[in-house]
């Protein structure tokens, strides 16, 4: 296992370099002067000269790439002129919102998608199967932004006044405030330290912070605000997971050892859950891992529709304001995050299936 992990780690180094090169090249393709593209049209010559010198833009292109890589290695992903803040700081502020949303969406798609797929496979070719697969097909074809807007219309306007009314935007109702858990607990953390940054990051996830501080009013409000965006974002992964579970279950259910298990008189429940489902889980690891990339892309659309100030929303604002610093910085970070996710998926795959790591 350690050799497998090491080999897999080494293989992702060229990809990481490729990502850095691609984003570096993209930034050089921006028409006009990189300084004004990064700092805005109003940047003066003095400011630009200083900027060019600091980022090595007055040096040969190879040296520029070297400077770029070393800056990233030190955790400097550039600056946003729109917010006049380092990208890293913006990320730490906004990422928790996206993580919370994506996590809720993923959880939802797993909780609903897997049972649907299993039922569909067990009741193969019955109406349950047909209806589920029809919905799964519609689910993968759904434009996330359209679904989001329609959900907002139905739950905020049509169902207004009923117990099913849900808020169409934002994270918390006006007037509610959330206090970071470390302040509630009376911890004295110094700003800027690693512990502070981590605690600050987690405290920005409203639901998580509400649980830690026992503030159930905020918990309920944050959860209600999360339902619609999480549901909209979860449709595509949910449909993919349901389809994958179904086909993987169908394949396993046709195996000899399932017939043996049935022949020795095991209950249907034991055959399906213990013998079939466990073996059908493997391909799901890949689908779930790949869905995470889709979730990050979908978050841009969902956060725009539901007005959530996460990574996706800030990326959208960056695009409309032509803030290349945000677009470049966020693209690098998200791609690196995605590579790390794929790595985790591959390693968990090897852990789940010994045949892979032994080959």
């Amino acid at each position: 296992m350690p050799t497998y992990i090491l080999r897999r780690l080494l293989l992702s180094i060229p990809v990481l370099f490729g990502i850095l090169f691609a984003t570096f090249a993209l930034a050089r393709l921006i028409p006009g002067d990189p300084c004004r593209a990064m700092l805005g049209e109003k940047a003066t010559k003095v400011v630009c000269d200083e900027f060019n010198h600091r980022h090595g833009l007055d040096k040969p292109i190879i040296v520029q790439f070297g400077v770029y890589v070393s800056e990233i290695a030190q955790g400097d992903f550039g600056t946003s002129f729109r917010y006049s803040k380092p990208i890293t700081e913006l990320l730490m502020e906004r990422l928790p919102i996206t993580v919370e949303l994506s996590f809720a969406a993923l959880l939802f798609s797993i909780i609903v998608g897997i049972p649907l797929g299993v039922i569909s496979a067990v009741r193969h070719n019955t109406w349950v199967d047909v209806v589920t697969m029809m919905w799964a097909n519609i689910g993968v074809s759904m434009p996330v932004f359209w679904l989001g807007l329609m959900l907002a219309y139905i739950f905020a306007l049509t169902l207004k006044g009923t117990p099913f009314q849900l808020p169409p935007s934002g994270r918390l109702s006006a007037g509610l405030i959330t206090i970071p858990f470390f302040e509630v607990w009376g911890l004295e953390l110094t700003k800027g330290t690693f512990i502070y940054n981590i605690s600050d990051f987690f405290s920005r996830m409203n639901i998580f912070n509400a649980v830690l501080t026992g503030n159930w009013e905020v918990f309920k409000d944050a959860a209600i605000h999360l339902i619609l965006p999480a549901f909209a974002l979860s449709t595509i992964p949910m449909a993919l997971i349901a389809r994958m579970t179904r086909s993987s279950m169908l394949e396993v259910l046709g195996q000899d050892y399932i017939r043996t298990a049935r022949a020795k008189g095991l209950s249907q429940r034991a055959v399906i859950l213990k013998h079939a489902f466990r073996n059908a889980l493997l391909p799901l690891a890949t689908v779930i891992g790949l869905s995470l990339g889709g979730l990050l892309g979908g978050a841009v659309l969902t956060e725009t529709v539901f007005n959530l100030s996460g990574v996706g929303r800030i990326l959208y604002d960056g695009i409309t304001a032509r803030d290349y610093g945000i677009v470049q910085g966020f693209t690098v970070v998200i791609a690196m995050f995605f590579v790390a996710l794929n790595l985790i998926v591959d390693i968990s795959y090897a852990y789940l299936d010994p045949r892979i790591r032994l080959n």
Binding site: L26, M150, L315, V327, A335
Partner: protein, 318 residues
């Protein structure tokens, strides 16, 4: 005594050989047997029909803004759908899907949108298939450093979530429909390159290829006439499903304002420009989104059907 005589069997081509059935006939038969792929084909046929006849069936020009309409004509911004057959008073102009924020007939724009959507899907996928096939074939056939280089570049492209990479590319090269298509095309190249490379690798060392080489076939002939036809079926499947995701991604880019620019009647852009009016004029959000979904659904159903029809190993799972 009677002798039973067996009537002589007439020997001709029809009795001696089994009816030959080509792969395409089998595929067609399997495809039509599946209800979901029939649904996909029907939706697609309707869309193609609409796209081809948009200029004749659309009641108005898609970009015509009725700003100069007289007050007596009762034309209002973002008016709700008005259909005479459903009891809409005849003193109002008939707008089957209402009017949009710029006083244009939404129905006419929707019809022209079908043309654009199909073009978007076909053009991006053709572009990606062309480049992907060349890269995959080169890598698979020649192997070595060429293969390594091409595949590492593909790995990098795959390392980005596709929509985000497309967003980054369009932000840099500038918004617009053509640039958005280019970005989506680039992002989808790896899928085709991998399919082609896999097919090339699987047949490269086969006897018939060696035979062709021994007979003096040149590289071009071996690659294009002997090897690449093997990649055709997976490419068709991947391409059909690829059209679906290309349309979805293009709509998303247009929704974000990075794709088609006004007044182009593109569904994603139409939806995006009216999204803040969802509570007052939901029809302007509902129809374009529904159209996108149905188009994507049609290609997805057809793609799934083709995969099962072309790959008998998967037939039992459908």
């Amino acid at each position: 005594m009677t002798t039973e005589t067996i009537p002589p069997v007439k020997l001709d081509a029809s009795t001696l050989s089994l009816d030959s059935v080509s792969l395409w006939q089998i595929t067609r038969r399997r495809l039509f047997r599946r209800k979901s792929s029939v649904v996909g084909m029907v939706i697609l046929a309707i869309l193609i029909l609409i796209a081809l006849t948009a200029q004749w069936i659309a009641p108005y020009s898609p970009t015509l803004s009725m700003l100069d309409a007289k007050p007596s004509q009762n034309v209002t911004k973002r008016s709700a759908p008005c259909i005479y057959a459903l009891g809409c008073p005849t003193d109002q102009p008939q707008h089957i899907m209402g009017t949009d924020g710029n006083l244009r007939d939404e129905f006419s724009r929707m019809l022209y949108g079908a043309r654009l959507s199909l073009m978007i899907g076909l053009s991006t996928v053709s572009f990606a298939i062309f480049i992907g096939t060349v890269l995959g074939a080169l890598g698979g056939y020649f192997g070595g450093w060429i293969d390594n280089l091409i595949m590492r570049v593909m790995d990098v492209l795959l390392a980005f979530p596709s929509l985000l990479l497309a967003i980054a590319i369009v932000t840099v090269i500038g918004p617009g429909l053509i640039n958005a298509l280019l970005a989506i095309g680039i992002v989808s190249i790896p899928a085709y390159a991998r399919v082609v490379r896999g097919s090339v690798l699987s047949v490269r060392e086969m006897d018939y290829v060696s035979a062709s080489r021994a007979l003096g076939g040149n590289t071009y002939e071996i690659l294009f006439k002997r090897i690449l036809p093997n990649a055709l079926t997976p490419l068709i499947v991947q391409g059909t499903l690829g059209i679906a995701s290309a349309i979805l991604d293009a709509a998303a880019l247009s929704f974000l304002g990075l794709g088609a620019q006004p007044p182009t009647p593109e569904w994603g852009a139409m939806l995006g420009s009216e999204r803040n009016q969802v509570f007052t004029a939901p029809h302007l959000v509902f129809y374009p989104g529904l159209a996108i979904m149905l188009t994507v659904l049609a290609f997805n159903l057809l793609g799934d059907g083709l995969r099962d029809a072309l790959d008998p190993r998967l037939a039992h799972m459908s």
